[in-house]
Symmetry: C2
Subunit: 462 residues, 2 copies
């Protein structure tokens, strides 16, 4: 085991401007703590729903990553190359992952024989995209993904798990009301077939347009579809159908009443109805999910249930959490058929947007107590006191320099540390210390034996 810390630090004559590349979110500690809380909440809920953690390398082999060679993928990719390979003039054979789904596919195919199916994994890691740097676009950002992967088959039950997890996550994130919109791609494809659009490629093109309904409005989407050669009456019927609004039962009933004989439509509708029933059984608040036939998720990848999530008060954020059911995860890597269903939260963008909108604030520090240094001759006693607090699980900092008490308390206040402990020679002799709540200004004299308990109790009370 070689020492992990290396040093390349020789005093320089001139300095280099310290900066990061554009498009990354680097936070100061108070915001980092808030972001960490968000990621911890997501992780805790994912674990509560029995998703298992995995992590994959940030760097993947290019031939594994770019299974669809020459496509859109490579345009936004960061290639990676070691010094040696560069010197030999080789083409890069490594790149940074651009999502967590391709690495998941590679992971499941690579380790298939050692995994149990259905394989339930969560993954909270950063991904990289060579985006042009602009507001709200990140080149490095966290994705928080869950997927359930079956082998050969995957029960519809799992389609209902995903919104239950997401409702729990967003409920705990305290981001206000939100709505998970549900739809089913089989229902959409069947509807199109029923309306006479049977060709798969045309269906895919129409679904991509439908995805724009909310953004562009029905008039413009209808115009585009008619321009592309679809019958105007058909387009009108389609857009009317997809515009259904009402309670989940009302929308399901309205879809049921449609004069569409297509079997795929019926199968998709039944799936959608079952997902709604299972969400109710899973105690998900009905105000948090909404059947919306206009949700298409443009990607051809999805084959069944699809999801989008909006913050009710912030429609301009767009979908903060999207996903769906797919037929085959890893066709590029294995002949096994691996159907799955999953969803992804783009946590970096969500956090930055919430922060900017004032919906989230940097709060209290992870540090709970500052042991101040009232009397410099008691230095080692302050260390003893801190050791006791830490042993009782209270995150504690010791002010290490002699300084005026006012300055020390201002330091704690600015750092959002909630409590200070003050102990002079008199208190020390009597076995007590002063515990000060820096928010309320209240102060109590507490026996040093009870100090950790007193802090814990006041922290728990909040």
């Amino acid at each position: 085991m070689t020492p992990a810390r290396v040093g390349f630090y020789v005093p320089a004559m001139s300095t280099v401007k310290p900066r990061t590349m554009p498009g990354v979110l680097e936070l100061l500690p108070p915001e980092q703590i808030a972001f960490k809380r968000m990621l911890d909440t997501i992780r805790d809920v994912y674990e509560r729903y029995a998703f298992l953690p995995i992590e994959t390398p940030v760097v993947e082999l290019t031939d594994v990553l770019f299974t669809k060679s020459g496509g859109e993928t490579e345009k936004q990719v960061y290639f990676v190359q070691s010094t040696g390979d560069r010197q030999h003039g080789r083409e890069p054979d490594l790149a940074l992952r651009f999502d967590l789904t391709v690495p998941l596919a590679r992971y499941v195919a690579e380790h298939e024989q050692k995994l149990q199916f259905p394989f339930r994994r969560y993954q909270i890691q950063r991904v990289y995209r060579g985006e042009s740097a602009q507001r709200g676009r990140y080149r490095e950002f966290y994705q928080c993904d869950i997927d359930v992967i079956g082998r050969d088959r995957l029960a519809l039950e799992h389609d209902a798990e995903i919104p239950a997890v997401i409702a729990d996550v967003f409920g705990r994130l305290n981001v206000g009301d939100f709505t998970i919109r549900l739809n089913n791609r089989r229902l959409l494809r069947g509807l199109l077939s029923g309306l006479g659009v049977g060709d798969a490629e045309t269906q895919a093109a129409v679904l991509r347009e439908i995805d724009k309904l909310e953004k562009r409005g029905p008039g413009r989407v209808a115009h585009t579809l008619t321009e592309s050669g679809l019958d105007a009456d058909l387009v009108r019927r389609l857009i009317d159908t997809l515009g259904q609004r009402g309670s989940n039962d009302e929308v399901l009933a309205a879809l049921d009443r449609l004069d569409v004989a297509d079997e795929t439509f019926r199968a998709g509708l039944n799936e959608l109805r079952r997902v709604v029933e299972m969400l109710r059984a899973s105690q998900v608040d009905e105000r948090r999910f909404q059947v919306d036939p206009a949700i298409a998720r443009g990607l051809d990848y999805y084959t069944g249930t699809v999801y989008e999530t909006r913050l009710d008060a912030r429609p301009e954020f767009g979908s903060v959490c999207s996903g769906g059911r797919y037929d085959d995860l890893a066709g590029f890597y294995t002949k096994s058929k691996l159907p799955g269903v999953g969803i992804s939260i783009g946590a970096t963008r969500l956090f930055a947007a919430l922060l900017e909108a004032g919906l989230l604030k940097a709060g209290e520090s992870t540090v709970k107590v500052l042991v101040t240094r009232l009397d410099d001759t008691l230095g080692d006693d302050y260390l003893r006191l801190a050791a006791r607090l830490r042993a009782a699980n209270v995150p504690t900092e010791v002010y290490a320099e002699a300084a005026r008490m006012k300055k020390q308390l201002a330091y704690a206040d600015k750092a959002a540390i909630p409590f200070a402990v003050i102990m002079g020679g008199d208190e020390h002799a009597r076995g007590v210390a002063q515990l000060k709540d820096l928010r309320s200004g209240e102060q109590w004299e507490v026996s040093r034996d009870d100090l950790a308990g007193a802090v814990r109790e006041r922290l728990d009370r909040r």
Copy 2:
């Protein structure tokens, strides 16, 4: 906010072999859970000692990263380049970080005006080195760093904090006995000056040799030093001095008795003595730290206290946690003087080594209960039951397919899920369920209202 999930998934004609680049540690869920527990423990202890979290981008600008241009640094580096920059034939201006110390220096210099000093940060992230792939060498690995950075000055108190944190971390990791070895570079430099080796460059060269004492043995080190032109008698005295063994007080006393008039030596010795005293005040078990004058940490970077940590039963692991005091963190980026002290745990290598040595095992799953599916007509009732368990913070999985009970229990057992819940029509009608401990085989009938409590109680009891 654009949807986070993208898809590049078109069925391929031929498959690509799913694999990662060599030199990365990718884990299956049971090991990943164990590794996550290790990282969580490290993080919790770091927070308990009031270190604040930061994260920096994995990609840094090359001119920021390679402040010492053309040196050893670049040989082991991964360069990063976007598709666009490659197409334009540009030289890469990005690279993956190779440690967390250079990014810390950049971070502190960049955000200096917004940080409070002393700045106490922890950082648990991956770093990248273009190592030749061989056993135990990783190209991607976690470092878990803590540093305290002062502005203009930094109290010696912080030098004693670091081993207190490390003793707490390794104590909680349950890796058996370990020893943090302490020394002081001023003491070493002063000793060399006192022996007549006053030239700084020669001192540095000698310290690099001293660092090899344990590995190569005193004979070979003495030979190398003599060969390089040092007086044989001096070399003998030096190696005798550094070979001092005994209790901390005995070694400190022996150093004190040395006939070395050098002021730097005396200052270093006083620092070392104070660090030992403060560690005692901080309630660190004296068996866990040992003054060892032969610890040099070869890097010129360190200027005062230095640390190394060994697992007593696994000396072949080498130092699993090293660091020290430095005079100036960020001279390349700012004219401010930023002294600091810190340490780093190479968590990936440590985890892999512990796993291989059998000192650490993949344990219980993060999932605590499997709700089995005894009666397929009760599907929604199993969902209701799972919702109640999850609402009570019990991580719960629902078996989603009809299958023989034996198969379902075998699934839970293989996944290391500790409990199963079994409920048939009769139990359902009576408002109860069977709770089965899969390790002991015990089974209890429990009211469904009490089920979460019953699981919690049994989990806490372990």
